[in-house]
Symmetry: C2
Subunit: 351 residues, 2 copies
């Protein structure tokens, strides 16, 4: 414990003022050095830095927050029960990206779950108290009131996956439209002619966009539209089974299926097997998410990969900018605030 430099004799933590006295400068100067202001001479800066090191000075965050009206922390809000958070690799990937981008910052990340009503009330209180400088909102449902609350409190926020084309919050999304397109183009290129689509929940904007991509890819390839080849699912395995069964009964001659998620693809696969269709010989199958399921499926599933980790990084970028700008970006730069990242088709044996 020796060699850690003397604390002030008063016994508590050293303050700015004590550092200033020690360095023989004024309070303002120390503050400038600590906050990296360029308006300090090199000699003075060195003296202050020495004093800081000798005293083992660490700024008092509360005092800083009070005086500067900022908290240097941001919240990652997960509007889901913890269970799902741990179950889905989506969150883990996202968290990794966020953490990485934050690591060379002074910002502290708070992880807040808002799955239950109780948790949501707590969160509302927390936000009202402005205990964070900004919020990252992941996995928001279309009818979630949280984004509006954030807007009302004028708290900078970035959302992953806009709620609609008219999203007012800054958002980062993967290219669901392009992802859907690439899946279908891939199937066309493999010589498939009757390509069905099992959609995700259509109140999720991303799912709609995948349908759009599916439609346009077929149209551009000169296929005529056939709505009988589209069947809504709900992102669950059971939904995949049901949709697949429906599709098969309606269009027994289909030769490919694009499912809006890997989980639904897994459900579809079970039905295809049961009906004696071989994958990929009789029916090619493509999923979405490139999750662990895709890699471990039999046969391994072709899937569309989203750059989740990078989404996390970009979200932080945008959020930090917004916080620095200190204004809710409701002006003409809104269009610049809707970032879309490319997806990538990962071909495997199922297609």
């Amino acid at each position: 414990m020796a060699g850690h430099g003397g604390r002030s004799r008063s016994g508590g933590r050293p303050t700015l003022e004590e550092v200033a006295a020690r360095a023989g400068v004024g309070r303002g100067t120390v503050s400038r050095v600590i906050n990296g202001s360029p308006r300090v001479s090199d000699a003075t800066r060195a003296a202050v830095e020495a004093a800081v090191a000798e005293l083992g000075y660490v700024p008092n965050t509360a005092a800083r927050a009070l005086a500067a009206n900022r908290t240097d922390s941001i919240a990652l809000v997960v509007p889901e029960p913890e269970t799902r958070f741990f179950a889905e690799p989506y969150f883990s990937d996202m968290l990794r990206g966020v953490g990485a981008e934050l690591s060379d910052t002074e910002m502290q990340l708070l992880l807040i779950f808002a799955g239950s009503d109780r948790e949501r009330r707590r969160l509302a209180q927390y936000l009202a108290a402005h205990r964070v400088d900004g919020v990252l909102l992941v996995s928001v449902h279309a009818d979630d009131p949280l984004p509006d609350l954030l807007a009302q409190l004028e708290i900078p926020a970035v959302i992953s996956g806009p709620r609609s084309a008219a999203e007012t919050l800054t958002s980062v999304d993967s290219d669901n439209y392009g992802g859907g397109r690439s899946a279908v183009e891939h199937l066309i290129q493999r010589g498939r002619r009757k390509i069905a689509h099992i959609t995700g929940r259509l109140d999720v904007y991303g799912a709609q966009r995948r349908v759009d991509g599916y439609r346009d890819a077929l149209r551009d390839a000169g296929h005529r539209a056939d709505d009988q080849l589209i069947e809504p699912g709900d992102f669950t395995e059971e939904g995949g089974r049901r949709a697949m069964a429906t599709l098969l009964s309606r269009r027994p001659d289909l030769d490919a299926v694009f499912a809006g998620s890997d989980v639904m693809a897994a459900g579809a696969r079970q039905i295809l097997r049961k009906e004696g269709r071989r994958i990929p010989d009789d029916v090619a199958l493509v999923g979405y998410d490139d999750s662990a399921i895709a890699r471990h499926m039999d046969p391994p599933l072709t899937s569309v990969r989203q750059p989740i980790e990078e989404m996390g990084r970009r979200m932080i970028d945008l959020l930090l900018t917004e916080i620095a700008d200190r204004r809710p970006p409701t002006s003409r730069d809104l269009d610049r605030r809707q970032m879309v990242l490319a997806t990538e088709l990962v071909p495997r044996t199922s297609s």
Copy 2:
């Protein structure tokens, strides 16, 4: 936005002073009401509460922290990379318990990973700044410097799984000794005579205690000690395989194995199978942790369950007490601060 009560005309958030003015009382009185002091008359209290509601007053945390020298937040420190955090149900269970116990508190939980050196440096800085009132430390290795840092900074802390019998920090643990005992007693009761033990990493205190439980259970049942039946593992599947192979070569006539973790039990099972021993007919097998592996093994594995979620709850209890006491508990009450929770044997078909 109407009906939300008028903010002060100044536009910003209302302050204590504004509430006081509105309620026609002094600043101190409002503070007392907000903090639930009993020294306020009912009439005054009601007036203040009305003013608070009308103005939509929310205390400024920074100001409170500065004045009262507390942060109303505690950190859950995970000295592991995020990957393991998500992979192991241990953390998820723990987090659930912690969150539950914290939910009727004003305390905010921070989740902090300290896996890499970089992250550890950040954490040290964070703790030095006293940005939390207390720390929950889970999954600490024997040589981790973190506990000592915490002690040095005089930050209240509770550790899950003491580092040794002489642990100085407040700790919550499951009864590893009793768990080991119960596993062996169960095997004896089932008529097993030559019971082997694959230990965990012996630099983990809990693993040692399981060995102690194993030894004492055998001794109390009148078995003579046979160290050839004990083989150290390292909590990994590979370690389980290696230990099992060694044990079989040394004592081919063993009729039961108690593994220090389910993962090691899984490794042991592979070797037993390969050597043609049937489970449980020829060799009974018992694991530890009662993880998903145990339930899904073939045959389902008898295992010792630890009440992880409850451990989380108890840790918060102790931590909050320690914070409220505002003193590092180095005195005679230390023994009261080593809490041990009972384990439970979950019998399945492997024994």
